[in-house]
């Protein structure tokens, strides 16, 4: 089904992937930045150390740039279910709409109203009161994550519902079970911790570049920011690895195929199971080769003990056929894309480990009395480059989650192929894909450009007043 070229389903899937991945570059970064800027401003309110005010203001600018792109691309997500996936919307409306509406009412209003106040009231409120506004925004963004993940968790592991026999559609029977979905409360910590990790890594990385410029008067600012960012990355890299493990335990129970694919296992493993670091996967013949293995580790990762075999995809495929053939027919292919999952998992965990190591050495080498970090230019460059990797890690994590529910859009209930809008055509989908692609390239490029420019100006740059009156239609208005 993946290889049918420009079919409506694959174009709609591509669009969903593109719009969510792009949106999700900015979402975790914004959530994390909101929290960290709130922490900075709170430290200022308590300790009255001016550098933390400068930090809140400077990193607040970067936060606002990301937040702006995050919100506008978020509206696409809400519209997209109706536009591209109308059959899904009909099938799932009874369960799926509720968390989206609650997300808007409970979370979006908090974040949009309080961010508006926060942006425009630096000079009006006392630091503590002003910090309260950004805390509300941060809380709003996290509440929003809960509700959208509640909706997604239902797609991964449906709970609290029945199928209405008259309409053939999903019907909610227990709202408590929908928001009490174990999947939700295992994925939520992972997402939030990774969000703060993302923001911390970017702050550390941008500070490293700022520090390397050696501009007068900025050393204290960027040094403080660097240590703030590094400590955050270190702590939250460890915490999000733990949260990931916590989530994996649930995946093993609910979606064993997803887990087997992330480890690239076709045949059941021996007991105890060896962990494959890397291997080549042939998804056509369903074989693997060139494995580099470490004995026993997979049992440890899976069961937290030194024994225990792990089921392979072949076995699970048979089990799923036995379970679902009556409803979906014998022709279903229950294998998820193994290469995507196997490598996404390694990229995600590898990035977490990399950030952990960089942050650990960074924290050690940037201690107050030893200025050794400034003399290790090679290391500063590494810290600076590391700022890009959490974005790859976040996307890889969602690749595992979303590709791993193949071939279903709602696990065990509804297939992706049945979910697209019957009104969609290849033409309209191609058009909208191109429009979104161009738009995202523009927004992403501009956002990065302006962030870079903000860093280049540094925290103590006063923008020149733009008091010269320019006639917009005059020729010189369009020339530099």
């Amino acid at each position: 089904m993946l290889d049918i070229g420009l079919s409506i389903v694959s174009l709609a899937r591509f669009q969903f992937a593109m719009t969510t991945v792009f949106h999700f570059f900015f979402v975790p970064f914004s959530i994390g930045m909101a929290v960290l800027v709130a922490v900075m401003e709170t430290i200022y309110a308590v300790k009255k150390d001016k550098v933390y005010l400068d930090m809140a203001k400077f990193w607040g600018k970067i936060f606002l740039l990301s937040f702006a792109v995050g919100i506008v691309t978020g509206i696409i997500q809400e519209f997209q279910f109706g536009m591209n996936w109308s059959e899904y919307s009909r099938f799932m409306g009874d369960v799926f709409g509720a968390p989206l509406a609650i997300e808007a009412l409970l979370a979006f209003f908090i974040e949009s109203v309080f961010i508006g106040i926060w942006m425009f009231t630096w000079d009006r409120f006392k630091p503590g009161v002003h910090a309260f506004m950004i805390w509300m925004t941060a809380i709003g963004t996290m509440l929003s994550a809960i509700w959208i993940l509640a909706a997604n968790s239902f797609m991964q592991h449906p709970t609290g519902f029945k199928i209405n026999n008259a309409t053939g559609r999903v019907q909610m029977t227990d709202f408590g079970a929908v928001i009490g979905n174990p999947q939700l409360w295992r994925v939520f910590p992972h997402v939030i911790l990774a969000a703060i990790l993302t923001a911390g890594t970017v702050i550390a990385g941008m500070s490293a570049w700022g520090l390397m410029r050696k501009k007068k008067g900025e050393n204290h600012f960027f040094k403080t920011s660097l240590r703030f960012g590094l400590w955050t990355s270190l702590i939250f890299a460890i915490l999000s690895a733990g949260a990931g493990d916590f989530q994996t335990q649930q995946m093993l129970k609910d979606q064993p195929m997803k887990f087997a694919a992330t480890e690239g296992i076709y045949k059941d493993t021996k007991n105890p199971a060896a962990w494959t670091v890397v291997e080549l996967i042939n998804s056509k013949d369903k074989t693997t080769s060139h494995e580099v293995e470490i004995p026993v580790v997979l049992s440890l990762l899976t069961y937290h003990k030194t024994t225990g075999a792990v089921k392979g995809m072949d076995t699970i495929n048979k089990e799923l056929h036995a379970k679902y053939d009556k409803q979906f027919g014998k022709d279903m292919d229950y294998y998820v894309p193994p290469k995507t999952l196997f490598w996404s998992f390694r990229v995600m965990t590898g990035i977490d480990l990399l950030i952990m190591l960089v942050a650990l050495f960074g924290v050690i080498w940037s201690r107050k009395k030893k200025d050794t970090i400034e003399n290790k230019k090679w290391f500063m460059v590494i810290v600076g480059l590391t700022l890009w990797v959490p974005f790859i890690g976040n996307s890889a994590g969602w690749f595992i989650t979303e590709f791993g529910r193949f071939p279903w859009i709602v696990y065990g209930l509804f297939t992706i192929a049945d979910a697209v809008s019957p009104t969609s055509t290849v033409g309209t989908l191609l058009f909208s894909n191109i429009v979104y692609f161009l738009l995202f390239t523009l927004l992403g490029g501009v956002m990065i450009w302006y962030s870079r420019q903000t860093l280049h100006h540094g925290p103590y740059y006063e923008m020149e007043d733009s008091k010269q009156n320019v006639d917009p239609f005059a020729k010189e208005a369009f020339v530099k």
Partner: protein, 337 residues
């Protein structure tokens, strides 16, 4: 009153609140070309809605979410049927939304111009296309038994829908100018009033044409004559109130008048739709509220949630407006974050 009908009304209410609030946002965005003369004035206009626009737009997101949560068949048919229109609405909203932030980082004249133009274009496109879509939808469009809508080009773009789009955009502009009169001081304030003196007569002409076309092109007046007539008259009356405020320099009256006019347009459309959510050219394929609605259980949960949250939201939403009552002066307004 069934819960499904209650949610139909609630969605209409959310859309009217959205149009009341984001209507002046759109209008302020359009004013950057029709009213402001230089970059400072444009920035002052933008800043007058700076703290509010995101919250205002959230009413649209809430209306969409509420539709999904209560009448999913309406959401599915409407959003998939008007694919290209909604795609362009999204492009407009996106370009407009990022402009607020990007323009403050632009350092070259060209950069500032680009983001001011995207701000204007988005503010113009979004209300026009939304009104175009709504006025196309209420005329009835080709649909199949599954509820899939297949409007052809002239189902979307026709006399009523274009007049509706233009009138809605013009009303938004007028509303935005009334907002500027409340929030800005100096020459802009007076110029906004003068411009509205010119625009109101055009608007009245547009409203009359609009009413006549609604009479002939929709079944509103055959199905619900009395209420449709009253609401149409209210649209005009509220516009007259706004005009009165312009002539007598009563800014509050003007603002309330133009905002309520916009809201009444949504009320007219939802009143005419009832008890349907989508009107098909073949009446057998029209979708009724009761068929589009979610289960009683879900609607009950959503009703409780809305009853608790909407008042809380309203309180801090209104409070946030009371924080920004000082008039903006373009001469003193500096670039800030």
């Amino acid at each position: 009153m069934t819960l499904a009908n209650l949610w139909f009304i609630l969605i209409g209410l959310l859309f009217s609140i959205f149009l009341f609030l984001e209507g002046f946002d759109f209008g302020v965005g359009m004013s950057t070309r029709f009213l402001a003369k230089d970059f400072d004035e444009r920035l002052a206009l933008m800043d007058s809605i700076g703290p509010h626009w995101d919250g205002n737009e959230t009413w649209l997101v809430t209306a969409g979410g509420a539709m999904f949560a209560s009448l999913p068949l309406m959401y599915a048919s409407l959003f998939s049927g008007y694919y290209i229109v909604l795609l362009l609405v999204l492009v407009g909203l996106i370009l407009r939304g990022v402009s607020f932030e990007f323009v403050k980082h632009a350092e070259t004249k060209a950069g500032k111009n680009v983001w001011m133009w995207t701000f204007f274009t988005g503010s113009f496109l979004a209300p026009f296309l939304l009104c175009l879509m709504l006025l196309s939808m209420v005329q009835g469009i080709p649909m199949n038994a599954n509820g899939d809508a297949f409007p052809k080009f002239f189902d979307v773009v026709n006399l009523l829908s274009v007049v509706g789009g233009v009138a809605g955009t013009l009303l938004s502009l007028v509303h935005g100018l009334n907002f500027i009169r409340l929030r800005v001081e100096g020459p802009l304030r007076e110029r906004a009033r003068k411009l509205n003196q010119i625009l109101y007569p055009i608007l009245f002409a547009g409203e009359v044409v609009f009413a006549v076309l609604v009479f002939f092109q929709t079944d509103f007046f055959t199905k619900r004559f009395g209420s449709s007539l009253v609401i149409t008259l209210l649209i005009v009356l509220f516009s007259l109130l706004g005009y009165y405020g312009v002539l007598k320099d009563r800014e509050g009256w003007s603002f309330a008048g133009s905002g309520l006019s916009l809201s009444m347009v949504i009320v007219l459309l939802f009143n005419g739709l009832f008890p349907r959510v989508m009107i098909a050219t073949n009446p057998a394929h029209s979708i009724l509220i009761k068929d589009a609605a979610n289960s009683q259980y879900t609607l009950t949960i959503m009703t409780i949630v809305a009853a608790v949250l909407v008042p809380i939201v309203a309180i801090y939403f209104i409070w946030s407006y009371t924080l920004f009552t000082k008039r903006i002066n373009p001469k003193e307004n500096t670039v800030k974050y």
